[in-house]
Amino acid sequence: MDGIHDLAGVSGFGPVEMEPNEPTFHEPWEALAFGLNILCIGVLRAYNVDEYRHSIERMLPAHYLSASYYERTLTGVASLLVEKGIVTREELENRAGGPFPLAQPAASVVADGRASGEKPRYQVGDTVRVRNIHPAGHTRVPRYVRGVCGEVLHVTPPFSYPDAAAHGLPPRDEPTYHVLFQAEDLWADAAGHRETVVVQLWETYLEEIR
């Protein structure tokens, strides 16, 4: 989805603020929210990491931007557990003593892309174009590279295709690449000098230059 989480290049944000001697967690509930996610993925196997990422992307945009990182974590975890029938929204709200905002439902998605285990189609040095796609569901191809040409810098291992895994479709591994983009191809007149961006992309996101 072309969601609010796809932030790269959006203007208007303030300065990046760093906190000296920042603790790992600022509040007990942050550690708990983080731990619950680790527990649900790693021990209970209630969902996978792609589903987790997508659950956060599905938060209402105003909530996404106003929530802190661990509030996003907690919201994603709770949304998935409700969607999977492990807990109900009602019991969460009763226990919390008030509204418990959750993510919006996921779109229904059909499988696309390649078969598992195929050999990489591109090699180091190839010029590739990122397909101009706007998937309704989870995807890891950010908007700012779509339609743009880049150069294959490394052929990286096959990894599970997230557009499928995030929607409970049969998992499959697919070749990935580090693709190098020139800033001026991404940001046109707004690009800085001698700036480049590398994005790791699954093969389904790419097409050959015609």
Binding site: L7, V16, E17
Partner: protein, 208 residues
């Protein structure tokens, strides 16, 4: 926006988090008391063993051992595992070596992925919309505001963590550290330097 007009305030985030834990506990998905045990163990791991000081050791080793450096650049995952640093979010670690004319910076624009075994959980600023929105588009300006001036003669290469590669920057070793021990060197390497928003300097110290 009529729903916003009448929207009730959510329960506090602390209450919402406890509510989720308690609801899970009640389901009996794990033997009694084990949910808290697992939680405690997980958090202890991140507080104590899986943090960016591991990465500092990797960098110091690479600075002092040319063969290790070569192994790190060829296969970051294996080289980190040599020092005992492996685990979740470290299944495919890629070390990015800074050069006099090339400066690497790491971001995850869509969420906040990081190489946990060598960088630990990322700091708030790395997870902020500000950093995620801005650094891929205006890296030199962002680094300047964060206190690092990279001259325009030097290429800035931003690595967006969109798939399974987890990056660690191998920063330039500061001059005037000849003869330093690995431990001494590790003590001046900061998390910020391994993300690429700071250089390693002699002033940096353990309190960072």
């Amino acid at each position: 926006m009529s729903h916003q007009r009448h929207a009730k305030q959510p329960a506090s985030i602390a209450k919402r988090t406890s509510a989720l834990r308690d609801a899970l506990n009640e389901k009996g998905l794990l033997p009694e008391g084990q949910l808290d045990t697992v939680l405690d163990a997980t958090l202890a791991q991140f507080e104590e063993t899986m943090n960016w000081r591991n990465g500092a050791k990797v960098v110091a080793r690479a600075w002092t051992d040319p063969e290790y450096r070569a192994r790190l650049l060829a296969d970051g995952t294996a080289a980190c595992a040599e020092l005992g640093f492996e685990g979740p979010q470290g299944e495919y670690i890629v070390a990015l070596e800074d050069e006099p004319e090339l400066h690497h910076v790491i971001v995850c624009t869509q969420c906040s992925c990081t190489a946990w075994p060598v960088l630990g959980l990322p700091p708030d600023w790395y997870k902020s919309p500000e950093y995620r929105a801005r650094v891929a588009r205006e890296p030199r300006k962002v680094l300047h505001q964060m206190g690092l001036d990279v001259p325009e003669t030097i290429e800035i290469r931003v690595w967006d963590t969109t798939a399974e590669s987890r990056f660690i920057v191998l920063p330039l070793r500061p001059p005037a550290t000849e003869g330093w021990s690995e431990e001494q060197l590790a003590s001046i390497v900061t998390r910020e330097a391994m993300i690429g928003v700071a250089m390693v300097t002699l002033e940096a110290s353990a309190e960072k």
